[in-house]
C-alpha cells in the first residue's frame, strides 16, 4: 500500500498560551482548518481519530470530539501511546482506508497543559517519589546520562540539536519561541535536572493540529490540491519503566524505523529532511542512531558542526520542533513533513523528495515512524 494513501490536508490552531480554550474547541478549529486546506467538505468525513488530552481524562473522548464536529464516524476513537499516538492513529487510519473500513479520516490532537494542568509531566513515579523521583525530564535525563558515559556524548552535542531547532523556529512565523540561540547560550541555560538544562527541554504549550487522510484515488476524485503520499509507517514499543529497561541507550525507534523504511522502500541515505520528536535533545540524538543515520553511540559526532541545520547534511525539525515551534506532542512534526513535501515550509529544504517523521511517547516507551514522499 506504499503511496496508496495520502495526507490531503493539514490544519492547526495558534500555539502557546490559549486561556479559556478547551481541547474540544481546539480540535474542532484544527479539523476545520485541515478540511479547508484539503478543500474537502465535512460531510465526506467518516472516521475520527483523536489523541487523548493529558490535561484531563474524558471517557469516550473520541465521541465527544465527533459530536462537536457533527460527524457520525464509521470508525475511530482515542488512542493512548503518548506522543507516538499521532502517527500510530494515522497508520491505523491508512490501513482502515485500504481495507474499506472508512473513506475519509481526520486525525486530530489538542491539549492545554500550559493554561490547564501540566500535572501529567510532573507526576511522581509511584512509591519512588519518596526518593525524589518525579517528572518526565528526569526520566530522559537518566537515559541521557547513560548515553554520555557509555559513548562519550557531550552536553555540547545535545546543544547542537537545540541550536538547530531554535534557528528553524526563529524563521517560522507560527512558532511559539522565535529566538535563535548559540552553543554558548545553550551552555549558560538554567540547570533543571542534570545533565539537562532548560534549553534541553521542550516547551509546554496549548494548541491543536489535525490532518485529513484518504486514498490517493479519493483525493483525485475530490480535487484535493496538494496531497502528500504516505510511503511507509511503523511502530515499536517497550514495556519497561526506565529503571527496569535492560538497555537504556537503545529504543523502540529501531524496530519502528525498520518497519517503516521497508514499507517505503527507502534507506536513511535517501532521506532529505527529517522531523524527529524532540521532547528533549537526547531523543533526537538517539533516534538518529536507531534510524540508522549513524551507528549506535555516534550520534554526538554526527550532529556536531551544524549537520541538523538548514544547509547541513540532514536538516531536522525545520519548523522548530517541540523545542521551538510548540511543545505539542508530535502532530506539528507531521504537518511540517507535509509542508516540506509540498515545498511550502518556512525553512524549505531545496529539492527535498523524502521526509521521515518520528513520534514518541512516555519515556521512550512508544515510537512511531512515518515516511512521506511526493506525487
Amino acid at each position: 500500500m506504499r503511496g496508496d494513501v495520502v495526507i490531503a490536508g493539514i490544519g492547526h490552531t495558534a500555539f502557546g498560551k490559549l486561556p479559556g480554550r478547551s481541547p474540544t474547541s481546539m480540535n474542532v478549529e484544527a479539523v476545520r482548518n485541515a478540511l479547508a486546506d484539503a478543500r474537502v467538505e465535512k460531510e465526506a468525513v467518516d472516521a475520527v481519530f483523536v489523541k487523548y488530552p493529558t490535561s484531563g481524562h474524558v471517557p469516550m473522548y473520541g465521541q465527544v470530539v465527533a459530536e462537536a464536529l457533527g460527524v457520525q464516524p464509521r470508525i475511530g476513537g482515542v488512542w493512548d501511546q503518548g506522543g507516538a499516538t499521532n502517527i500510530s492513529m494515522l497508520s491505523f487510519a491508512a490501513m482502515a482506508i485500504a481495507h474499506g473500513q472508512c473513506d475519509v479520516a481526520v486525525v486530530t490532537t489538542a491539549d492545554n497543559p500550559r493554561t490547564g494542568t501540566r500535572q501529567a509531566y510532573e507526576r511522581a513515579w509511584g512509591d519512588d517519589a519518596v526518593f525524589g523521583w518525579f517528572g518526565t525530564p528526569a526520566g530522559y535525563a537518566m537515559i541521557a546520562r547513560r548515553h554520555m558515559e557509555e559513548f562519550g556524548t557531550t552536553h555540547e552535542h545535545l546543544g547542537e540539536i537545540a541550536v538547530a531547532a531554535r534557528r528553524h523556529g526563529a524563521a517560522n512565523p507560527d512558532a511559539q519561541l522565535r529566538s535563535a540561540i548559540t552553543l554558548e547560550d545553550f551552555a549558560r541555560s538554567r540547570p533543571v535536572v542534570d545533565p539537562f538544562c532548560r534549553d534541553d527541554c521542550c516547551l509546554i504549550s496549548d494548541g491543536a493540529a489535525a490532518i485529513v487522510v484518504m486514498s490517493k484515488e479519493r483525493a483525485r476524485q475530490l480535487g484535493v490540491p496538494a496531497p502528500v503520499p504516505v510511503l511507509g509507517f511503523g511502530q515499536g514499543q517497550t514495556s519497561w519503566e526506565v529503571a527496569q529497561r535492560p538497555t537504556l541507550t537503545e529504543t523502540a525507534a529501531a524496530v519502528s524505523a525498520r518497519t517503516a523504511f521497508a514499507m517505503a522502500g527507502v534507506r536513511p541515505e535517501d532521506v532529505d529532511v527529517a522531523q524527529l520528536y524532540d521532547c528533549f535533545t537526547i531523543t533526537v540524538l538517539m533516534t538518529l542512531e536507531d534510524y540508522g543515520f549513524c551507528t549506535k553511540g555516534q550520534g554526538g559526532p554526527f550532529v556536531a558542526g551544524g549537520t541538523l541545520q538548514l544547509g547541513g547534511g540532514l536538516p531536522v525539525n525545520t519548523s522548530g520542533g517541540l523545542l521551538s515551534e510548540t511543545g505539542m506532542p508530535g502532530m506539528q512534526l507531521v504537518l511540517e513533513g507535509v509542508r516540506q513535501m509540498r515545498g511550502t515550509s518556512a525553512n524549505q529544504v531545496a529539492g527535498a523528495r523524502t521526509c521521515v517523521v518520528s513520534n514518541q511517547g512516555g519515556i521512550m516507551h512508544t515510537h512511531s515512524t512515518l515516511v512521506l514522499g511526493q506525487e
Binding site: 510532573e122 511522581a124 513515579w125 509511584g126 512509591d127 519512588d128 517519589a129 519518596v130 526518593f131 525524589g132 523521583w133 518525579f134 517528572g135 528526569a138 535525563a141 537518566m142 537515559i143 546520562r145 547513560r146 558515559e149 557509555e150 538554567r190 540547570p191 533543571v192 535536572v193 542534570d194 545533565p195 526506565v242 529503571a243 527496569q244 537504556l248
Partner: protein, 132 residues
C-alpha cells in the same frame, strides 16, 4: 514531609523488611527470575508462585541524575540531590539515592546498601563501595 509510599498487601513485606533492616526482593519458584518492584506474577514465566529473599546489599550504578530544582515541595530544601538506578547483585533494579558527592558518581560503580530512616520512612539507599 516526604511523600509516603502506599503500602499494600503486595508491598507490605518490602516495607516491613526495610524497617527490620533488610532489603527484600521477589524470586520466582518456577523459573528463578528475581525482580523489584513487587508483582503478583513473575514477568518472565507468569507463574504466581514466588517468595521474598533478602538482598546481599551489593550493586552497581546504571545511571543517575541530579535535580537542580525541586518538583515537589518536600525536596525544596534538598536540592541539589541525586536519584540513581541501581542494579542489585541478584539482578533486580531499583530507584534510589546514592550518598556521595556528585563528582564521584559514574555508571557501573559498585555500591553498598545502607538503610536510612528518613522522615519516619525506612529507605534503601547506597554508598560507594570503592573509591574511583
Amino acid at each position: 514531609m516526604l511523600p509516603r509510599p502506599e503500602v499494600t498487601p503486595l508491598t507490605e513485606p518490602y516495607w516491613s523488611g526495610l524497617a527490620a533492616g533488610e532489603l527484600r526482593f521477589q524470586r520466582c519458584h518456577a523459573c528463578g527470575n528475581a525482580w523489584l518492584p513487587a508483582r503478583d506474577q513473575c514477568p518472565r514465566c507468569l507463574s504466581g508462585s514466588r517468595t521474598w529473599e533478602v538482598a546481599s546489599g551489593g550493586g552497581r550504578i546504571i545511571s543517575w541524575v541530579v535535580y537542580r530544582q525541586a518538583v515537589h515541595e518536600a525536596f525544596a530544601e534538598r536540592v541539589p540531590y541525586n536519584v540513581a538506578i541501581v542494579e542489585l547483585d541478584e539482578g533486580p533494579r531499583l530507584i534510589t539515592n546514592v550518598d556521595a558527592p556528585e563528582e564521584d558518581l559514574a555508571i557501573e560503580l559498585p555500591v553498598r546498601l545502607r538503610i536510612d530512616e528518613d522522615d519516619g520512612v525506612f529507605l534503601p539507599r547506597f554508598t560507594l563501595a570503592g573509591r574511583r
